[in-house]
């Protein structure tokens, strides 16, 4: 039972980290970034590159975030920004971008599965159970991430400007807020979060050019259920991630893989605005 609880909490932490970048972009830009999975994959390969270069494995996290941020800025400027007035086209463009990124990664790194070095290995005794140290560290990192995102959105000028843009972009512009810059920074931040999450999960899984794809669907569902709020995403990750763990443990891993999508579809059928939106 103790291991099950720890699995639920650590899975929720991983899901939160993976979905947060998608949520930030959707919340501020009203854009579903279908390249989110590709940015996760980029983060995975940034971690792989870190291993190959012989760097300290912890450096994979900031390195992936930096790579994601820079690429996010380029993508926003070159692909997303010209399509602001055509939101559907912008979504399709990110979908296409995801495919292109996957192909480029395949050309550069090959199709084969790669592995990265974990910053921490082994297990520790926790709540009377022997449990993966790295998974427990992920919980702490996800908590730090949640606090940092909350602080950014609610205690900084950028956060205030971003919330103003979300609520009424024209009014925000009339107050001197450069909403284009807010969107640029937000996309860069979302891409950085996705890449960082990719680097965080790679010690638990293998790295391949399609790494991000299954996470994209789950992230999308979690964000919709969250009602696009940070506490909402935490709770949605806990509930849906918890259900996934329970189904995987007691029924089958295949059914477990479908749990988040199915449960989210049911929740959204009953409450289309998500669990935590007014």
């Amino acid at each position: 039972m103790g291991v099950l609880l720890l699995d639920i909490v650590t899975t929720a932490a991983i899901l939160f980290a993976v979905a947060s970048g998608l949520m930030i972009i959707l919340g501020v830009m009203k854009l579903i970034n279908f390249a989110h999975g590709a940015f996760l994959t980029i983060g995975g390969y940034a971690a792989y590159a870190t291993t190959q270069l012989g760097w300290n494995p912890w450096l994979a996290i900031p390195f992936a975030a930096l790579v994601g941020f820079v690429l996010g800025l380029i993508v926003e400027r070159a692909i997303v920004r010209p399509l602001y007035a055509r939101p559907l086209d912008a979504i399709l463009a990110t979908w296409g971008l995801g495919i292109i990124i996957g192909q480029v990664i395949t050309i550069v790194f090959g199709r084969q599965v790669q592995f990265v070095q974990s910053p921490i290995s082994g297990a520790i005794e926790f709540l009377g159970q022997s449990y993966s140290t790295y998974r427990l560290v992920l919980v702490a990192l996800a908590a730090v991430l949640a606090l940092a995102l909350t602080a950014l959105l609610y205690y900084t000028r950028f956060g205030l400007n971003a919330r103003a843009v979300i609520m009424n972009e024209d009014l925000a512009r009339g107050l001197g807020i450069d909403s284009t810059r807010v969107r640029l920074t937000t996309f860069g931040l979302g891409a950085a979060l996705a890449s960082m999450a990719g680097a965080l999960i790679t010690p638990l899984i293998s790295v391949d050019p399609n790494l991000g794809l299954p996470w994209l669907v789950n992230s999308f569902m979690l964000v919709l259920v969250s009602g696009i709020s940070i506490p909402g995403l935490m709770v949605a990750s806990l509930i849906l991630g918890g259900a996934q763990v329970v189904v995987s443990t007691y029924l089958s891993a295949i059914l477990g893989g479908l749990t988040i999508v199915v449960l989210a579809a049911v929740i959204l059928r009953i409450r289309p605005q998500g669990l935590f939106s007014g």
Binding site: A164, R173, G174, S179
Partner: protein, 237 residues
């Protein structure tokens, strides 16, 4: 009014929505410290003029200069950063943000927030006590006062005010008039008001102009003895 000395100079401005031309070759200038009121019935192009000055609508013809600099093609955020405060008629506040956050958005430099809050708080004392309250829960009059306070937070050189008195009781209108005139006296702020409340406009403004079908139909000084009668004649037709 000499266009070169004006803080705002609009010349031959034409704009509208889609195919519809709403503002037709309007020229108006506002000098530093001057208050000009644009009067007219609904749908005559007054608000469209302000939106075009702010850059929310593209100018099809004509020019807008602020402090002598051409801002005709500038986006709204860049216009606003020229020490311009714009208070739109509708959806003017962030309903789901707190009063404090709404006011913070009026003052881009956080270092000045407390000082400016103390200043506008003297005019509207209730704001200081309700910084944490959601702005959408304020009464209509309080929201308008907060709107003016937010505009004053950055000590603008020019305020563009769109029908601030609409739906307000006379006591609140008096309070707003007093606040705007006090700010003008203290900082030399200029104003371009769009109004339907003639009494308020003549009390506050130095000059007035009546906008009819997108054009300036008549204009004059507010202290002229026949100002109210001339305006009434235009508005009654």
């Amino acid at each position: 009014m000499n266009g070169e000395a004006a803080i705002l100079a609009v010349s031959g401005l034409t704009s509208g929505y889609g195919e519809a031309i709403v503002v037709r070759g309007v020229s108006v200038a506002v000098a530093p410290g001057e208050i000009v009121a644009l009067l007219g019935k609904n749908g005559m192009g007054k608000s469209t003029l302000l939106k075009t000055v702010m850059g929310f609508l593209p100018a099809r013809e004509g020019q807008v200069t602020l402090h002598g600099r051409d801002v005709t093609r500038d986006p709204p955020y860049r216009v606003a950063r020229q020490a311009i405060a714009y208070t739109p008629q509708e959806q003017a506040i962030f309903q789901d943000l707190s009063v404090g956050d709404n006011l913070r958005l009026g003052q881009p430099d956080a270092r000045w927030f407390d000082e400016e809050l103390a200043r506008v708080g003297e005019v509207f004392p209730f704001l200081k006590e309700r910084l944490g309250q959601r702005a959408g829960t304020l009464s209509g009059g309080e929201q308008k006062m907060m709107l003016v306070a937010r505009a004053l937070m950055a000590r603008p050189k020019l305020m563009l005010v769109d029908e601030i008195t609409e739906g307000l009781q006379p006591s609140i209108i008096q309070r707003l008039a007093k606040a705007l005139l006090a700010e003008r006296a203290r900082t030399g702020m200029a104003m371009l008001l769009v109004e339907q409340n003639v009494r308020f406009a003549l009390e506050v403004a130095d000059r007035w102009a009546v906008v009819k079908l997108g054009e300036i139909d008549d204009e004059g000084r507010s202290d002229a003895p026949d100002a109210a009668a001339r305006i009434a004649k235009h508005l009654s037709v």
